[in-house]
């Protein structure tokens, strides 16, 4: 296997050299030569205007995947409720299933989720595989993986999607490794290639600076984890009235998967779970995030950020600088070393906007930046900007929201 250069068409324009992130392109005697640093990422192939570069010698086995059919969604449970990302994926999965002309199914694994999981039908599900057993009351990755593998091998979906939650990103790679198939992490876009009928999985890499489209070759199902809040959840068929909460109503749409509980012994023992200061700190769940950064100057100033967040029904986020200074705890950190968030509104207060921070929040619907430095990079991604002193602007905004009286 190698990268082949067509010397007849290569002009030595060096555009490929510019885009190569691995220093693998050299121009020798006016032609491109690929050296050993190459990781076959394909960036040079994409950028070449002359079609001079191709990957050659990659053997493609002709495998028949016709017994794999349908789109299947993993509904991750959080205690007895179903995580929202599952419903987002059903809405997205419906589109994919329609394009392929196949069934849309979902699998839920948990303890005491029988009632809450029914909500999934409101998003348009053809079939639900339900594994409800007390053995799944804790998030023990290995037995969840075993349960999912059991369903996937039995029903053979061609596409399997799960939320890129922290649990999902630990669990689903295990599932893919057991099934011996590919897995694309943290996708933000899915499409069906109309000709080949395969799944095109698009995801950000290099901290969101690049998007890569990935396919699954030589194996099925095509598996991907999808970033929460990116796909839109959309209810259909609200008209089920009183019946929509009744298990009987769905009849043969629900398939109860019986498991042999004695065979689901985990290698993990969960000793304790701590929630931080009985405050819900899953900042990725909120529609509004008000974040504070280095400009706040101290932990006591976060109370002002918290007040604003509370008034807007949101949650407090923070930059790495604020967390590293010990002003607020790590679960609040937004950015590459913290969490990736996509709220409807992100308000950045005194955050300059280092690229690692932007990587974690630039896909927010609306970004408002308040910073005293007009050249702060945060303004490059913000939709609304205020150049000003956060210690003046934020308290004034809090007062405005509380009193409801116009200031001018």
């Amino acid at each position: 296997m190698e990268i082949k250069i067509d010397e007849k068409t290569c002009t030595g324009c060096s555009l490929c050299k510019k885009v190569c992130l691995y220093d693998a392109v050299e121009i020798v005697k006016g032609k491109v030569v690929i050296n050993e640093n190459c990781v076959f990422c394909g960036a040079c192939i994409e950028v070449c205007k002359f079609g001079s570069i191709e990957i050659a010698g990659l053997k493609e086995e002709e495998k028949n995947f016709s017994d794999y059919r349908g789109v299947c969604i993993y509904l991750e449970a959080n205690g007895e409720t179903i995580a929202d990302v599952g419903f987002e994926l059903i809405s997205e999965g419906r589109k994919l299933a329609r394009q392929l002309g196949v069934e849309l199914s979902a699998v839920a694994v948990g303890s005491g989720i029988e009632k809450s999981v029914l909500e999934a039908f409101q998003y348009g599900l053809d079939k639900l595989y339900l594994i409800d057993s007390p053995v799944f009351s804790d998030n023990l990755d290995d037995i969840f993986a075993k349960a999912l593998v059991q369903v996937i091998t039995r029903y053979k979906p061609e596409i399997f999607l799960a939320g890129a939650t922290w649990f999902g990103r630990t669990l689903i790679p295990k599932v893919a490794a057991i099934l011996k198939t590919g897995l694309t992490a943290d996708c933000t876009g899915l499409e069906i290639d109309k000709e080949k009928k395969i799944l095109l999985q698009t995801r950000p890499t290099f901290g969101g600076n690049i998007l890569a489209t990935i396919i699954t070759r030589n194996a099925r199902p095509q598996m991907a984890t999808i970033r929460p809040h990116v796909m839109e959840k959309k209810k259909i068929g609200e008209g089920k009235g009183d019946y929509k909460d009744r298990i009987e109503y769905y009849g043969d749409k629900i398939e109860y998967i019986k498991i042999d509980e004695s065979k689901f012994k985990s290698k993990y023992k969960l000793i304790s779970t701590e929630k931080e200061l009985n405050e819900n700190i899953n900042i990725t769940d909120y529609d509004v995030i008000v974040s504070g950064g280095r400009g706040l100057g101290g932990s006591e100033k976060f109370s002002m950020i918290k007040k604003l967040a509370d008034l807007l029904g949101g949650v407090v986020g923070a930059s790495r600088a604020a967390v590293d200074s010990g002003w607020i705890s790590y679960p609040h950190q937004v950015g590459q070393t913290g969490k990736t968030v996509n709220p409807k509104m992100y308000i950045a207060c005194g955050i300059s906007g280092a690229i690692q921070h932007l990587a974690g929040m630039q896909t927010s619907d609306i970004i408002i930046a308040i910073n005293k430095d007009p050249s702060a990079p945060i303004f490059k991604v913000a939709n609304y900007g205020i150049v000003g002193d956060i210690f003046e602007v934020v308290p004034m905004l809090i007062k405005r929201l509380r009193d409801g009286k116009p200031l001018v």
Partner: protein
């Protein structure tokens, strides 16, 4: 005496903070990007060294392992300079283009070749790939438990460990038997700077290079040929960005901002 072997898996990546995008062609400009040790891996190295320090030094051996082109030796030397005992480079043209599956295949073969590894530590994800999948896939290949996003190792002895992991809204503490694998978040420690002794050792250390043949790896199970996923397109996101600056006195700014919040139905 049998030593406890800890393997730390690390990767050399292009430092992304330097990446710029050419506004004319909407392509990346690579010039000036340095290759660095994946920042998340620094915490993995540090944790390996700290675990050794919990035991007596001769009881534990910390081995840094990487797969990459020959120049990846540099990060192994860096690992040695901050206290890792030895390092191995997995390098072969056949390894290039590996996805997370083929990477875990290669790493698993190396770990089996090293033999008797009790603990494998990785960073939570890499800066370039951003997947975080190699850890759990590797653990599955080795048939050992995996704890992702570890934020603290509370207890560890030769046979088991108590480890706390961070989830979005909580911490969970697990007890697992060794051998096991973990990936760590930056909360777990503060990496040390290289010592003078470490730097001297790093300069002179011999780093063995294992190729596909030494790993007894078939060319079709490693690299791009052994991958189940393949990149078919790479592009830079189109940024359609417009900012509305809110001007005026602070009172006017806040009043306008309030109006914006109202229009967007936030209040």
């Amino acid at each position: 005496m049998i030593r406890i072997k800890i393997v730390v898996c690390i990767k050399q990546v292009p430092g992304t903070t330097e990446i710029k995008i050419d506004p004319q062609t909407n392509t990346l400009i690579r010039e000036g990007i340095e290759n660095i040790i994946n920042p998340f891996d620094a915490y993995a190295i540090e944790e390996g060294v700290r675990i050794r320090e919990r035991f007596s030094p001769e009881e534990v051996e910390v081995i840094a392992l990487t797969m990459g082109p020959p120049q990846s030796k540099e990060i192994l030397k860096e690992a040695i300079s901050v206290g890792v005992d030895s390092a191995i480079l997995l390098s072969d043209r056949a390894f290039a283009g590996a996805d997370t599956w083929a990477t875990s295949t290669t790493l698993a073969k190396a770990i089996n070749k090293i033999g008797d590894c009790r603990l494998i530590i990785l960073g939570k994800q890499t800066l370039d790939g951003d997947t975080g999948q190699v850890g759990p896939e590797l653990a599955q290949r080795l048939d050992i438990p995996f704890i992702g996003y570890a934020s603290s190792i509370l207890e560890i002895d030769k046979n088991k460990m108590k480890v706390k992991r961070l989830m979005e809204d909580r911490y969970e503490t697990f007890e697992i038997n060794l051998p096991a694998a973990i990936s760590v978040v930056k909360d777990i420690n503060t990496p040390r700077v290289p010592s003078l002794r470490g730097k001297i050792k790093a300069k002179s250390v011999e780093i063995p290079v294992w190729d596909a043949k030494q790993l007894e790896a078939d060319e079709n199970e490693v690299g791009l040929a052994g991958s189940y996923t393949q990149v078919v397109k790479i592009f830079t996101p189109k940024i359609k960005h417009e900012i509305k600056m809110i001007e005026g006195s602070p009172e006017e700014q806040v009043e306008q901002l309030h109006k914006v919040l109202k229009e967007l139905n936030v209040v």
